[in-house]
């Protein structure tokens, strides 16, 4: 029970342990205590390790892509290999890093802590979701080892269903399986947020991180089954030649694009919404100020979740879709920009008359706002019919979605990892190195992806192994930037590892942040809270009322 006083079971004691206090990390050191844990915090760690592996694996493919594109000729690898590189980069990053990253790591760790619960509603389901993720990952990893896949992460038919001679089925099965882990996490969050909030924690007292995860979970639960169905249909066509997408078998290739983007466009919001939740926490904490326009930020997350299901057709403007359908999708794609703009303006306004400090998480948060603003604004270009006809399937798109997914989602993820690192590990990371790395990531990112906007408008198509010479200069700039970006990602990997043993011990609330997760020790005990907390104030009460100030003076 969440009210139980913490009392470790004797069989969980470790003889060598010298710590006096029990927490979720030192209650057991056996492999079994990790692999069969029901503790949402330990499962978050399992996810942290696995998504980090996939991130660096996906990054490795990016290294080869950028190396190849240094020169216009295809001199480093064969076209077939290059095509596999960008396919595997996309699959690894989208399905095995970006989608699970913040929800499954930070969300898993923080949702119960932030709402004052002992665990998620379904701890076993939570563990199951990690196993499903790993099994899906193994299938996809097997597809890589057995020769790779070359369809692009979008699996467009009839190329994927009939023409490609690579391990499409194996990779697709991996993605199919992993989707279920996403669905289970979503269900778990929705139920937990509905049923397990601490006394006094009303909906409008919830941290915005929770609102963002709630909206994300809705998309995961409603959208993911569609990609599962779509992948299944591709598999049926490929294995049994049932005509669904290939016109030679009586199918319709555009149907695939509708089904695919019906999930995959909302999936973009699965990647960015949790990051937006993180940013709301960081901006308030490092301004020591209540968030500006709480309700607007909260409802904009829900608005994004709803509108995200109405915009998929903007991926089909050049596919021969009806021009009237194109107009409807163009309109909704414009509309979905507004809730994002509302968030950006409110975060900026939160800084106004705040007490702003610049620890590494805040640098990531400010970096996020800058990069997400550029990513969002260029999204309007793509929603604009006449402009999209020119830039569709060029590097303009590549630049745009990297600004959202890397500039947005990963900046938020790294900011969050740094912010909650003391809570997760009980150790502080080295601040100087962290600020330096945040700066390196920001500079490297812009140098990598900004030139690609220009490349795209000049007309360089995406997924080109060999390209005309006049595009070389911009590609070299991009590759140079990618080198810096790569270093920027490796530095945190090193010092975060280092801090596990050598970092200063973290207090319960090193940032002076509000929020229930900071009211329990770092790292938290397995039960999260010794007593179920009772919430009596709004979120982000950084400014104590006069009475409370007086009380604290008396104390």
């Amino acid at each position: 029970m969440s009210t139980a006083v913490f009392n470790p079971r004797p069989d969980q004691l470790d003889q060598d342990s010298q710590t006096h206090r029990w927490n979720y990390l030192n209650v057991g050191y056996t492999i079994k205590s990790w692999l069969l844990t029901h503790d949402h915090k330990r499962i978050a760690i399992l996810y942290l390790i696995s998504v980090t592996l996939f991130f660096f694996l996906g990054g490795l493919f990016a290294v080869f892509i950028r190396l190849e594109l240094m020169t216009p000729a295809g001199d480093l690898m064969q076209s077939e290999t290059y095509n596999k590189m960008f396919t595997m980069h996309g699959i690894m990053m989208v399905f095995f890093f970006l989608i699970p990253s913040i929800p499954a790591v930070l969300g898993n760790f923080l949702v119960p802590l932030m709402i004052g619960a002992r665990d998620l509603a379904f701890p076993r389901l939570n563990l199951l979701s990690w196993y499903i993720y790993i099994i899906g990952g193994l299938f996809t990893f097997a597809a890589v080892l057995l020769g790779g896949v070359d369809t692009g992460w979008t699996f467009y038919t009839p190329y994927s269903s009939t023409y490609s001679n690579t391990n499409v089925i194996l990779a697709a099965v991996g993605i199919f399986i992993t989707g279920f882990s996403s669905i289970l996490t979503g269900i778990n969050f929705i139920v937990t947020i509905h049923k397990m909030r601490a006394p006094g924690l009303t909906w409008f007292r919830l941290p915005l991180f929770i609102w963002a995860h709630y909206a994300t979970s809705l998309i995961q639960v409603l959208g993911t089954p569609v990609i599962a169905i779509t992948i299944l249909l591709v598999g049926l066509e490929r294995l049994f030649h049932i005509g669904i997408f290939d016109p030679k078998l009586g199918g319709d290739p555009i149907l695939f694009q509708h089904l695919f983007w019906f999930y995959s466009h909302p999936a973009v919001y699965i990647m960015i919404l949790p990051s937006m939740g993180v940013i709301s926490e960081l901006i308030t904490c490092f301004s020591k100020k209540k968030v500006f326009g709480y309700h607007f930020i909260a409802f904009s997350s829900v608005a994004i979740a709803v509108l995200s299901f109405l915009v998929w057709g903007h991926h089909l403007f050049t596919s021969g879709q009806s021009i009237y359908a194109g107009m409807v999708f163009s309109f909704f794609s414009m509309a979905v920009a507004i809730p994002s703009a509302i968030k950006v303006f409110n975060w900026t306004a939160t800084l106004y008359k705040g007490s702003v400090s610049y620890q590494a998480p805040m640098l990531y948060a400010i970096g996020f706002i800058g990069l997400f603003t550029i990513g969002g604004l260029t999204g309007i270009f793509l929603a604009t019919l006449a402009v999209d006809v020119h830039v569709h399937d060029t590097y303009f798109i590549v630049a745009h979605f990297h600004y959202i997914m890397v500039g947005g989602a990963i900046m938020g993820y790294l900011g969050g990892i740094h912010f909650w690192w003391p809570k997760i590990t009980g150790r502080l990371y080295p601040e100087g190195w962290a600020r330096f790395a945040a700066l390196v990531v920001f500079v490297g990112f812009n140098l990598t992806f900004f030139p690609q906007f220009v490349l795209g408008y000049l007309g360089m198509p995406r997924r080109y192994h060999i390209y005309p010479e006049e595009f070389q200069m911009l590609n070299v700039m991009s590759s140079a930037g990618a080198t810096i970006l790569g270093v920027g990602y490796l530095i945190p990997l090193i010092y975060l590892f280092w801090s596990l043993r050598h970092g200063p011990i973290a207090s319960a609330n090193p940032w002076g942040a509000t929020g229930l997760e900071w009211k329990t020790p770092s790292p938290p005990p397995t039960e999260n809270f010794e007593r179920t907390p009772v919430v009596t104030e709004e979120a982000y009460e950084y400014t104590p009322s006069r009475e409370k100030l007086k009380e604290s003076e008396v104390v």
Binding site: N83, G320, I338
Partner: protein, 315 residues
């Protein structure tokens, strides 16, 4: 294709300038908002940086007027862009009636182009300056996309149907032709050149080289080879409907629907004849699926189109 650094491809079609104008508008609005955000963050970050650990900022919960302002103004701006982009797209969607028709077949990994006068080219497209050109496009295999950056236009070429695009080149020169939709191993080599010529030079190019028979004539030969003409005759009581003057006209179907005969309908009627039956005829036509490739099919389509253009009644 000069080497100097530039931010725009050449403006070589009638709509290039219009698309670029809209693009510049978007760039300007984007720079304004991006700079506004960056500037505000910079000012706030400097002005309100934490000076002591125990300072307590005043609480500002929000301001409805501001929220409305920064919701409604951006929404209004996006609506301007939406209407502008949609109307430009809509107004340039339908080709003019007198457009020069050229037929394109994409296959892994090349573009095969047939001119109405019979010239055929691989990965090169010669067109006259100042004349509307309509491409009717088919693919033998996967999805490709016909993309001419200098014309600011692309269109996917989708298996199982014809897609069309049109443009009017305004500047003589050679421009990139790219396949924009990933189509397999040599996707990045499925490229070519669009050669825009002065109309006189274009005429010379058409008449030069080996003499070609017009596409409609080749189509007519295929039509006879496949014995289409045994049923589709003008004679009363023929087993199939006459095709003279049928292209572009409205035809009554057996199920009561009325259909305007276009290229996609002709294509469907050849490959899947039982899909739509003309009123008064029996569904007896065999399918030609698998017996004819896309390039030859386009010749027959061109032939049937020609039967409407010049009132030809040679059956």
């Amino acid at each position: 294709m000069d080497k100097e650094f530039r931010f725009l491809p050449e403006q070589a079609s009638r709509i290039s300038g219009q698309v670029d104008l809209l693009y510049f508008f978007l760039v300007t609005v984007s720079i304004f908002f991006a700079l506004l955000i960056f500037f505000l963050i910079y000012i706030f970050a400097m002005r309100y940086r934490r000076r002591s650990e125990d300072e307590v900022p005043r609480e500002i919960p929000g301001l409805l007027k501001l929220e409305l302002a920064w919701s409604i103004i951006p929404f209004g701006l996006t609506m301007i862009v939406f209407v502008w982009g949609a109307s430009l797209y809509f107004n340039t969607y339908t080709p003019p009636d007198n457009a020069l028709e050229i037929y394109v077949v994409g296959k892994q990994w090349m573009w095969h182009i047939q001119h109405p006068t019979g010239q055929r080219e691989i990965n090169t497209l010669h067109i006259p300056r100042g004349e509307a050109v309509k491409l009717t496009m088919a693919t033998e295999d996967v999805i490709h996309s016909f993309y001419i950056p200098a014309f600011r236009i692309k269109k996917d070429v989708v298996p199982g149907r014809y897609t069309t695009m049109w443009f009017e080149a305004i500047k003589v020169g050679e421009y990139h032709l790219f396949c924009a939709e990933y189509c397999g191993t040599k996707h990045s080599q499925m490229i070519g050149t669009v050669v825009v010529m002065e109309p006189a030079d274009y005429e010379a190019w058409l008449s030069g080289g080996n003499s070609n028979e017009p596409l409609a004539v080749s189509g007519e030969k295929k039509f006879q080879q496949l014995a289409c003409n045994t049923c589709h005759t003008d004679k009363p009581g023929a087993r199939g409907p006459s095709l003279v003057g049928v292209f572009g006209s409205q035809v009554q179907m057996q199920n009561g629907d009325k259909i305007v005969v276009d290229q996609n309908y002709i294509r469907e009627s050849i490959l899947n004849p039982k899909a739509k039956i003309v009123a008064g005829y029996q569904p007896i036509m065999p399918t030609f699926q698998g017996q004819i490739n896309e390039a030859d099919l386009l010749q027959i389509v061109a032939y049937i189109q020609s039967l409407s253009k010049n009132g030809n009644t040679n059956q």
